[in-house]
């Protein structure tokens, strides 16, 4: 289960709702990175004290493992995987390596 795995990288769309707090996005991105995924696209929208985050992620590890780790974060309310690509067009978009 390491990043050297020969498995091909797969793309996933993941939506996350979390509490708007100091370092919220850093906390999310840190987990994504350390658990072996790369952020291909990211869109964030704030709604009151909530953040709605849409991520397109690439990685070779099981996405369920990342989902379980994100759900452990105290300020994460919900994590969902979507089959179809999320609509990014009208949202602020960040590209990240």
């Amino acid at each position: 289960m390491n990043s050297q795995s020969p498995c091909p990288s797969i793309s996933y769309n993941l939506n996350c709702r979390m509490v708007y707090e100091s370092a919220a996005l850093e906390r999310l991105c840190q987990v994504v990175r350390i658990r072996g995924f790369r952020v291909a696209r990211m869109a964030v929208e704030s709604a009151g004290d909530q953040l709605d985050i849409q991520l397109t992620l690439e990685g070779t590890r099981p996405i369920a493992m990342l989902k379980a780790q994100l759900e452990k974060l105290h300020t994460v309310a919900e994590v969902t995987l979507s089959r179809e690509p999320a609509g990014f067009s009208e949202r602020a978009t960040l590209a990240s390596g």
């Binding site: 289960m1 100091s22 850093e26 840190q30 493992m65 379980a68 105290h74």
Partner: protein, 566 residues
């Protein structure tokens, strides 16, 4: 009430009476408030890493929340190793640091560091408090988070001006216990009944969940052959005839063989760490898995479980015990086989009867185990001595074995022993350390002196970084690199400088007298044990290899002989 006083108010509400800390500029308001508070004992360590590791040791030994305090900048950065250690081993810890005043954050102010940013990966959760009105609520939530579910460290960073802000006192919020998901005990019982070679695999989650008694009842009701991880040592008790001891890299052949042969692995409170499993692809190749854990994210993380039970471990184990008591498992042949493996492939280290011979690590630890009482707390450091203790000391309870499992942090042992001694001032606490590890936090000898703690320190001195030397010998063609410590200080003289008497031994016939002397001494004492530089921990699995590829001393000797012959 100002922000600092609200912190103390939360300490009172949660019956926190011992904290480990080190003052400095931005945390001064809290230290000022501490002066007038007689209900909280503040233990001044000599380095913030010592504070965090002492809080960790306190939590491990007592089962309570460990609390450490430091200032901004270097105070916070010095805490990091200790907090990471608690995170890796799921130790409940509350960390409080001062921060530069809110208006100066982000200006590169004196002793400013981005504590929130740099600690994200080593905490269960963290806060940067921006108003004194938040402190009470944050303290409630942080304490609840640290101790609930899978425990862990929670860090609260508070700017100095917020600590000084006045705000009305606020009553405690009621916290509700974390709900557990429904579990299918019936299916687990059916899988156990159907299995011919079931094996129990337990880890540190047993004591973290405070379910030691339920685990013992389950182990007794099921009479399953049992293996433990490093952190699970003591779970099954020293008198359980089905206990095969530790598995993994330095586990016994018997334990690893049982894992290889089992057809059902019942994993409880363990995370299938690589030091335990070796190469995953060949781990328990014939087994179905039942995984029981408080942390959902551990289920299927590394090994797919056929059945997972998530929730309160004690309740699950009690349910399983009741079912198995009514209908015991018919696995006598398998039990017999495992016991036979344990007899022939357990940890064996013949006591050396030659009185003038030099001391070996295993022989020393076996004597230590025989001489000390069952309730002695052993706080290990990291290295060869740590593995000898894990292999040869017979623990009767997991809280008596304090060891840095996940992080493997040298320097853990001495401050952890200090914490354990504060957890119970009457208990016998022994720090078993190495010459490398002791020097990582030797400044804490001053803490022992200050509080006159009767901690016993046993230094197993092989004049080198033994575990690194061993791996260089075995896996790097004996090319030794930067492991030599033959210029160590005179440890007995060093202890004496801290008003701690010491004793040196080097021969087998001195072991018993040495151990009995330090145990009988009324106060702290150091025992310096000279051991061979060349001694290795056996058996060993090469990092990344399968547990089935264990190497023991005889294989190495035969390999060396072949090489010499060639």
């Amino acid at each position: 009430m100002n922000g600092a006083e609200q912190i103390l108010d939360a300490f009172h509400r949660y019956h926190i009476d011992t904290v480990f800390g080190y003052p400095g500029g931005c945390i001064m308001p809290l230290y000022d408030a501490l002066i007038d508070d007689v209900s909280v004992e503040h233990v001044l360590c000599r380095h913030e890493q010592g504070c965090a590791l002492a809080a960790d040791g306190y939590a491990r030994a007592s089962g309570r929340l460990g609390v450490c305090i430091a200032t901004s900048g270097p105070g916070a950065t010095n805490l990091i190793t200790g907090v990471a250690n608690a995170h890796r081993d799921s130790i409940p810890m509350l960390v409080i640091t001062g921060q530069v005043p809110a208006g100066l954050i982000g200006t590169d102010a004196f002793q400013e560091t981005d504590v929130l940013g740099m600690t994200l990966g080593i905490v269960k959760h963290s806060y940067l408090v921006t108003s004194a009105s938040e402190i009470s609520g944050v303290m409630d939530e942080a304490i609840r988070l640290a101790v609930s579910g899978r425990p862990g460290p929670v860090w609260i960073d508070i700017p100095k001006d917020v600590l000084l802000q006045k705000t009305p006192a606020r009553s405690a919020a009621e916290s509700s216990p974390e709900s557990s998901t429904p579990e299918d005990l019936g299916e687990a019982v059916a899988m156990l009944q159907a299995a011919r070679r079931p094996l129990l695999y337990s880890g540190g989650g047993i004591s973290l969940a405070h379910c030691e008694a339920s685990f013992r009842r389950f182990a007794e009701a099921s009479a399953l052959p049992a293996v433990v991880t490093l952190k699970g040592i003591g779970n099954a008790g020293k008198h359980n005839p089905n206990n095969l001891g530790m598995l993994g890299m330095h586990g016994s052949r018997a334990a690893n063989r049982a894992v290889e042969e089992c057809d059902l692995l019942v994993v409880i409170g363990a995370r299938l760490d690589d030091r335990a499993t070796g190469r995953l692809e060949s781990f328990a190749p014939n087994a179905r898995v039942i995984h029981i854990d408080a942390d959902t994210a551990e289920i299927n993380k590394l090994r797919q479980a056929e059945l997972s039970l998530r929730g309160e471990l004690g309740r699950i184990l009690d349910g399983l015990s009741a079912a198995l008591s009514a209908r015991p498992l018919m696995i006598d042949e398998w039990r017999h086989q495992c016991r036979q493996w344990h007899t022939t492939g357990g940890f064996s280290a013949a006591d050396n009867d030659e009185p003038l011979s030099s001391i070996t690590g295993p022989a020393f630890v076996r004597q230590l185990s025989r001489i000390t009482s069952d309730d002695t707390v052993i706080a290990c450091d990291v290295g060869q001595h740590q593995m000898w203790v894990a292999q040869h000391y017979e623990f009767d309870h997991p809280r008596h074995h304090l060891t840095s499992g996940g992080l493997g942090a040298m320097g853990f042992g001495l401050p952890a022993a200090i914490g354990a001694q504060f957890a119970d001032r009457r208990s016998t606490v022994i720090n078993v350390t190495g010459d490398g590890s002791l020097m990582m936090n030797a400044q804490e000898l001053a803490t022992i002196r200050r509080y006159r703690l009767p901690v016993k320190i046993i230094v197993m001195d092989n004049q080198c970084l033994g575990m690194v030397r061993q791996q260089q010998e075995l896996f790097y063609n004996n090319r030794e690199s930067q492991i030599n410590l033959d210029d160590n200080p005179d440890f007995v003289a060093m202890a004496r400088a801290f008003d701690i008497p010491g004793l040196h031994i080097e021969r087998t016939d001195q072991i018993r007298r040495g151990i009995e002397t330090i145990l009988a001494f009324d106060g702290p004492m150091l025992l310096h044990v000279a051991i061979s530089r060349e001694e290795n921990v056996w058996p060993i699995v090469k990092p990344g290899a399968s547990n089935l590829e264990m190497i023991d001393e005889s294989q190495t000797i035969s390999r060396t002989t072949k090489e010499q012959t060639a």
